[in-house]
Structures are given as C-alpha cells and as structure tokens.
Symmetry: C2
Subunit: 335 residues, 2 copies
C-alpha cells in the first residue's frame, strides 16, 4: 500500500473534506443535467448515468469513511438515499453488460466464425444459438423492467429530495465539530482505518491458492460460495481508493492509484463473471428447455466460473507482484 | 534438451541395439506370462498388461527410430503387429481411467461432500448424479466390449504370431549391415533425428499462448481442433525418450529423463482430459436426456477442456522453464 507520506498538515479536516464533497456534488448535478438533456436510448444518457453513479459512489464513500467528521444523521440518511439511487440506476447498465458478456462468451465458445466441426462440439453449436436466444429473452426482459424502474425513480419525489440534498452539498457540508481539527490529526487516521479494513479483508482471501493458475477452485460449488469475501474486498478497495482521493484532492495532487485501479478492474471482472455464471445457471433452470440448450448453458456457466478464477489470479498478480519461481514440476500446476 | 555427451563410441550399433531389444523382449514375455497366470479382474492382470504395453511401446519405438540399422520389412511388420496389440490391450484400461476421471470431476464439481447450496448450482446438483449414471452406463458398456476384444485378441493366432516374433527377438535381432558400423556413427545420429523431429514439432506449438494462464484457448472449438499437434508431440516425445534409453542402455547408465517424464505426464494429462471432454460431449448427444443432465455434462465438458488448457500450461512450464516476469498489469491475464 502506498502510505500517506504527503498527508495534509496545516489545513483543517473541513478545509480538505468540504472542497472534495463540493466538487463531487457539482459533478453529480452536472451529470444529472446531461442525463435529462440526452434523449432516450442515447449513448450520452448512458455516459451521464455512469458519471452520476461515479459521483454518487464517491460522495457515499466519503460520508462513510469520514463519518466522525460529519453530521452523522445527515450523512447516514444521504448515504442510504444515494445507495438506493445508484442501485436503481445501475440495474439497466449491469444487465446490458451481462447480456453482452454472455453472448460474447457463447460466440467465442461455439466459434461462430468457423464452420461447425464434425464430432465433439455438435451439441454446443446446436445449443449455443438457442441458449443465446434464451438469455437474450430473459435478460432483455429484466433490463426493460430495470429501465422502467430507473425512469420511475428519476421522476419520483424521493429522487428530487436526493437531488436537493446534493445541491445543498455543492455549497455547504454539514460538518461535525471534529472537522475543525487539523487534517493530519483526524482526516488521515480515518483514511488509514479504511486502508486497514481493506488489508484485513485481503489477508483472509485465499491468495496463495489464487496464485496457482488452474487451481480449479472457482468452478466447484464450494468455490462459488467463497465469492463474497472477494466482493467485500472490491467494496473496501473502492472505499480506500476514494479516501485517498479525498486526501490528495486536499493537496491538489494526482492520486497514485494505478495499482488500486488495476486491482479494482480485476475485482469488477470477478463480480461480473460471477453474476454472468449465475445468470447462465438460472437460465438452465427454465422449464422445458432442450437438452442441447442446457448443455450450452452448462459450458457457459463453467466458462464464466473460470473467468472468476482468472480474475482472482489477476487480482493476486496485481496485489502481490512477486516473481513466480521458475521451472516448477508438472504437478505444481495440476489441480 | 540434454545433448548426447556420453554417446557410445567404440561399440558397434548392433552391440548397443541388440541387448536393449533383447531386454525389452524379455520384459514383454515376462509380462505376458504374468498376465496369463493372473486371474481375471485381478489387479495384477492390469499391472501385467501395463508392463506388456510398456515393453511393446519400447520395442516399437526402437524399431521405428533405428529402422535403418534393422531388417526393414521385419521391423515394419513387427511394429504394425505391436501397434495392433497395444491398441487392443489399452482400450479397457483407457476406458476405466476415463470413467474414473469423469466421475471424480463430477464429484468435485457438484461438491458432494457439502449440502446442496441454495440458488445457483441447483441444476448441477440435480444433473450431476444423472450425468454420472449415464457416463457410467456408456463407458462401462464400452469397457466390457474392450475387455472381450482384448480376451479374443490374446487367444488369436495373430497374437501368438506376435508373441513368437518377440520370443525370437529375445535372443536374436534381425539387423541390417549398417548395424556393424560404430554406434557413434549410426546409432547416435538416428537418435538425434528423433530429437530433432520432436523439437520441430514443439516449435510449432502455441507455447507463448499456453504460457499465459487462463488464455481460454482450449475451450473454444478452434482450440479443440488444435489438439492434434499436442498429441503428435506426445508421441514424438516418447520416441525421443526411448531413443535416449537405447543409447544409455548401451552405456549401462541411467537416463536423465526427469524433464522428459514430466513433459510426458503433462501431455498424457492433455490427452486424457481431451478424451474425457469428448466423452462428456458424446454423452450429451444421447437422445431424450433431461436438461439437468445435459447441463451437468456441459459443465463437465468445459471443466475437462480447462484441464486440457492447464496441461498445455504445465507442459510449457516444464519445457521452457523461464521465470515469469513479475507484476504484470491486470489485463495481461485477461483473455
């Protein structure tokens, strides 16, 4: 972990925290305006929603990590409302991405470019198209529902209350008295707490196992039930990263976050693949599907679970970048 | 590759080749006697058949690699007959091993030890038992047929002719006139040819890709059609290894073959996993199976194809044991 060598010193916590929250609130409002101005089904709508969620995540993370320096009831209330908003807005995008991921994987697995080979993979070629159609139907339906829910949310009085709260935040941050202390005394320790929580969570991950490629851990059912600690690390990593942003924002410096971003990407991929695998398994439980469809969904499920395993491997490589010892025996890589 | 530093010198090729073939022929006959003496369904029958096939492989490889030093029509004829015999005897064992591999994988994938989890993997738990029963039925039937075929072969006049030919070989090797030359001049170059054929075949394998874990190459259909170059390397590796044995047998020395054995193990695993994946795919084409069964077979197929990929990775690690560079970006390991 990069330690906070250049932590703010003479500023008060309020002098660091308030400008950051002002900036994020401004970004939230700007994205909201862009979202309203963009037409439906527009690429810029999606971009605006993404920026809106990014600002909401940063505000929410800041309210969480630096809660002792803020008006706590206000912070808790706003966080809950931002979580509701982010969740509602994220659904449609997540379902679109999941469908794309699954259809791309099916396309890759069935090798649509090449003529269907003889023998082995016949049932995959047959089933892949049907499995794709089934997933398309199920996830498009879910996406349409998520889209309606998002539209409804954006028109609700609950949403307007959140927008008003963020608009206030753009000019004024409800601080606790502790925020008058030096940033080095109260802000930096809170950020370090976030880092410690992350490191404790990473410490219990089975990284030694993840470091061995093809450990075949993620495909077994026990492996699936082990997803949550990784999802938890993904959230704690984000909190840590945004806490670093707050500190560095105070210094007007760029945050050295390549490693955190790379680790976050691996964990995003972990989450996406795990959810795609679940969607494939869920589709396989659709009544009266053809065996060839079910077979293709089984292959797809396993493929995405291997993506989960690959993402754990990638995270480990980012997090513990030690040189792999050379010339292992053949059995080292065997499961 | 270990080069042949201590190749035989003053002996003639015949003086190296004949004792090796005598020894292997003796081993063949000893195994054959053990096989006859052992009862049916006996572990020692299996052991004897394994030793018989190992001796047949070594004789056959020697006849192939050192063909210019032998009576060619005799060598070609005996090789063909040994191939027939090995193939006939190998079937039952291969089917037993394949069934064990597939049932073990299903057991691992469905996590039989743990109580069935809620959600996701329901259809796998349901289907795994049925898929296991289906594979058991199909492979046991095939194994019974292979067993009958082997029994029939062992009682045939064709087999007795092979046994007679090997019995002759135990005391006398039909040599060509070239075998009278110094071993260093004719035997070592033939062994080097075998090594060169191996190295040329390895050179066209996609080892750079295999070196990147989770390249997701083996699961796609194009990946499956790429199995044969690896199978070919497996055979050439064996020819090279046995040629080394011949040379070192002449020296009374032990062969330094750890690396060759490890590489061979990886390629055996490659072959076994590829064939198991095919068997899972074939079972999925059984008419009127339940979707849950087909789903489990799809997961199983994908699992075994990942084993194929893992075996390629293991082979590459044995063959090109260079230290992996540290700290790759997260995208390096991404497919």
């Amino acid at each position: 972990m990069q330690r906070l060598e250049n932590i703010p010193g003479h500023e008060t916590a309020a002098e660091v925290l308030a400008p950051y929250l002002h900036a994020q609130a401004g970004e939230f409002l700007r994205s909201l305006r862009l979202h309203r101005e963009a037409g439906p089904d527009n690429h810029s709508t999606e971009e605006a929603a993404r920026a809106l969620r990014a600002a909401a995540r940063r505000i929410s993370a800041t309210l969480h990590t630096f809660r002792p320096l803020l008006d706590a009831p206000w912070a808790d209330q706003l966080r809950a409302e931002l979580a509701w908003l982010s969740g509602t807005l994220a659904g449609e995008h997540a379902l679109t991405a999941r469908l794309t991921r699954l259809l791309d994987a099916l396309h890759r697995l069935s090798g649509n470019q090449v003529p269907p080979p003889r023998g082995d993979s016949g049932s995959l070629t047959v089933g892949a198209a049907r499995a794709g159609a089934l997933l398309d139907r199920q996830l498009t339906l879910a996406r349409t529902r998520a889209h309606s829910a998002a539209l409804q949310a954006l028109g609700s009085s609950r949403f307007h209350a959140v927008a008003d709260a963020v608009a206030l935040l753009a000019s004024e941050v409800p601080l606790a008295s502790a925020a008058a202390a030096h940033a080095a005394e109260v802000l930096a320790p809170a950020a370090l707490d976030a880092e410690d929580r992350l490191e404790r969570a990473v410490a219990v991950l089975p990284l030694a196992r993840a470091a061995r490629p093809y450990n075949a851990e993620a495909l077994v059912q026990a492996g699936e039930s082990q997803d949550s600690p990784w999802h938890q690390v993904r959230l704690l990593l984000r909190l840590h990263r945004y806490a670093q942003e707050v500190l560095h924002h105070g210094l007007g410096a760029t945050v050295p976050t390549e490693r955190l971003v790379a680790a976050g990407c691996a964990l995003d991929r972990h989450r996406d693949a795990a959810e795609a695998a679940s969607a494939a398994a869920a589709a396989a439980r659709t009544p009266r599907i053809a065996p060839a469809t079910a077979y293709a969904l089984g292959v797809l499920h396993a493929d995405q679970r291997h993506e989960v395993e690959a993402a754990r491997f990638a995270f480990q490589r980012v997090w513990q970048p030690v040189a792999v010892t050379s010339a292992p025996s053949a059995t080292t890589a065997a499961p």
